[in-house]
């Protein structure tokens, strides 16, 4: 029946996504959707193609096949295939990375303000001449960025250089920076990687809080099963580029295919 549902109710709707690297099919005809205010997880063993899937959606790779549609920042439906990463961000998709990629020499506040850039109207001329509107816009961006830091609990670090932050705080800063772009969908690639149990619990709360308070949907890749089961409403499982299962946490926990895929990984490891 799913095919009958108008695709435009989904904030993200991916159909038949395929990505080839030479002979390797890293993502193989994957369908996936995320609804408004939903938290969805994408899991699977190492090398399953999860990050590649994110890279295709965010414009880093142009997929070999498939359709990526999204409800954009302005509320209209748009096809994202072939757009440059900055255009995808403008349309309301923001992401974080498996390996932290902050602007290391800039302050915490500056990192967040960089995220605001795509929402600023001032173009080349305004930036150079610094008219009143440009200055007002920048002041607003700075204030909003600080508010985001307060929400995420990083306000006390706002003038620190990003690279001096503790690890867990750097991960949160990536989320803060992504939120500054005013996304309707936040893509998190292994946000809990390297965090201790305490930090992971805080992160779980934070993600839920973002969804509840900010009108943002979340698609996350994560290996920490406790976080995934706690947080997500639906789960997709990938293995060897293919989607092998989807469903609620309870469905997934009891799915023999999934158990096999993960066991396979354990034996390899």
């Amino acid at each position: 029946m799913e095919g009958l549902v108008s695709s435009m109710e989904h904030i993200l709707d991916v159909k038949d996504l395929t990505m080839d690297f030479g002979g390797l099919r890293a993502v193989d005809s994957v369908d996936l959707y995320v609804d408004k205010k939903e938290i969805v997880a994408l899991i699977g063993p190492n090398g399953a193609g999860k990050t590649t899937f994110f890279n295709c959606i965010t414009g880093i790779y142009n997929p070999s096949k498939g359709d990526i549609k999204a409800i954009t920042h302005s509320g209209a439906a748009a096809r994202l295939n072939g757009l440059k990463p900055n255009r995808v961000t403008e349309r309301g998709l923001a992401r974080t990375f498996q390996n932290i990629r902050l602007f290391q020499n800039m302050t915490v506040l500056e990192n967040v303000m960089i995220g605001k850039h795509c929402r600023m109207k001032a173009k080349v001329l305004g930036a150079l001449l610094r008219d009143r509107r440009t200055r007002a816009e920048e002041l607003k961006a700075a204030n909003e960025s600080y508010e985001i830091l307060e929400k995420i609990g990083l306000a006390k670090f706002s003038d620190e250089i990003a690279s001096n932050l503790p690890y867990g705080a750097q991960r949160k800063l990536e989320i803060a920076r992504a939120m500054a772009t005013e996304p309707s969908l936040l893509l998190l690639d292994e946000p809990a990687a390297g965090m201790n149990p305490q930090e992971t619990r805080e992160l779980t709360d934070l993600i839920r809080q973002i969804r509840d308070n900010e009108d943002i949907s979340i698609l996350l890749i994560e290996h920490d099963m406790k976080l995934v089961m706690n947080l997500s409403e639906r789960i997709y499982v990938m293995d060897h580029g293919q989607k092998i299962a989807e469903g609620t946490p309870v469905d997934i926990r009891n799915n023999p295919e999934v158990i096999k895929a993960y066991l396979g990984e354990d034996i390899d490891a």
Binding site: P85, N86, F103, I114
Partner: protein, 300 residues
């Protein structure tokens, strides 16, 4: 002592001009890792534009100071348009090509612009009118430091302060720093990297044009070739200070200016360029990344 002071001040003047041009090299390099060999030509075009504007306005009978202001603005605007366009047609299409391709394109652009001005104007030196009147209060020291030189040094200081403010505090400045640090991440967070690159070229070209007008006013003549020599010197300054580093470019420019000034003053004026390039060779041997440059670490 007065001779020393004179050499010091003339070195400061030279260094300031080098700095104005070197900033364009270093900013462009910082953002797209390209040596923009056509940058010296932008400086030359700026000077020519000012000359043409000044000639027209002189005929129209404008007062000198108004001519100076309008001619400078014309030079800055026109050169910026050149810088912007050169990036779009000669470098942008090659952004993902091997590194040598845009470099060759840059050299081609440089030769093209020199020859274009040569054909459109003449190979002879043209006189450049004195547009900045000699200030009276400068009279007592004018034999060692002229008003034109003061204008060069003052302009450079003001421009440095504005540029520092721009890069440190404005949103566009932050976007430039972010792009210089990690272009791919900048793109992913939604920065319009093409626009950032354009702004970089515009600012660099505007500064070079300013340098072109001021030096033409100081020397009193120009031809199509002035951009080549000035460009090479400014490039030397940028490498000396550490290419990609803005304070480095200024430091390198001042050191180069003083080296040339003192060496020609105390040793011999026949070897002016030898001193400059000997300094460059020494730096490249002992500090390949330049004085303030970061050594090329991993860039993922």
């Amino acid at each position: 002592m007065e001779y020393f002071l004179e050499l010091f001040l003339s070195g400061l003047t030279r260094g300031s001009i080098y700095a104005l041009i070197a900033l364009g090299y270093t900013m462009v390099y910082g953002i797209i890792q390209l040596i923009n060999f056509a940058h010296g030509e932008i400086y030359m075009i700026g000077a020519f534009t000012a000359l043409i504007a000044a000639s027209v306005l002189t005929i129209m009978g404008w007062p000198t100071i108004a001519i100076f202001i309008v001619a400078t603005i014309a030079a800055v605007v026109y050169s910026s348009a050149y810088g912007f366009t050169i990036e779009k047609i000669a470098y942008k299409p090659l952004r993902n090509a091997p590194r040598l391709s845009p470099l060759i394109s840059a050299i081609g652009m440089s030769l093209f612009l020199q020859n274009y001005v040569l054909l459109a104007q003449t190979s002879d030196f043209l006189p450049f009118p004195q547009l900045i009147p000699d200030f009276e209060f400068m009279e007592p020291i004018s034999h060692i430091f002229s008003t034109a030189e003061l204008a060069i040094v003052l302009t450079t200081v003001i421009v440095m302060l504005l540029l520092t403010y721009f890069i440190k505090f404005t949103n566009m400045g932050k976007a430039m720093r972010a792009t210089a640090q990690d272009k791919k991440m900048a793109l992913l967070i939604g920065i319009n990297v093409d626009m950032v690159i354009s702004v970089t070229f515009i600012i660099g070209s505007a500064l070079a044009a300013l340098g072109g007008v001021l030096i033409a006013n100081h020397i009193g003549q120009l031809n199509f070739y002035i951009g080549f020599i000035a460009g090479i010197k400014a490039f030397t300054a940028a490498v000396l200070g550490g290419i990609g580093s803005i304070p480095g470019a200024v430091l390198g420019a001042l050191i180069l200016g003083w080296t040339e000034s003192f060496a020609t003053g105390y040793i011999s004026s026949d070897y002016e360029d030898v001193f400059a390039f000997a300094l460059l060779v020494l730096i490249l041997i002992f500090r390949p990344a330049g004085l303030l440059g970061r050594s090329e670490t991993k860039k993922v």
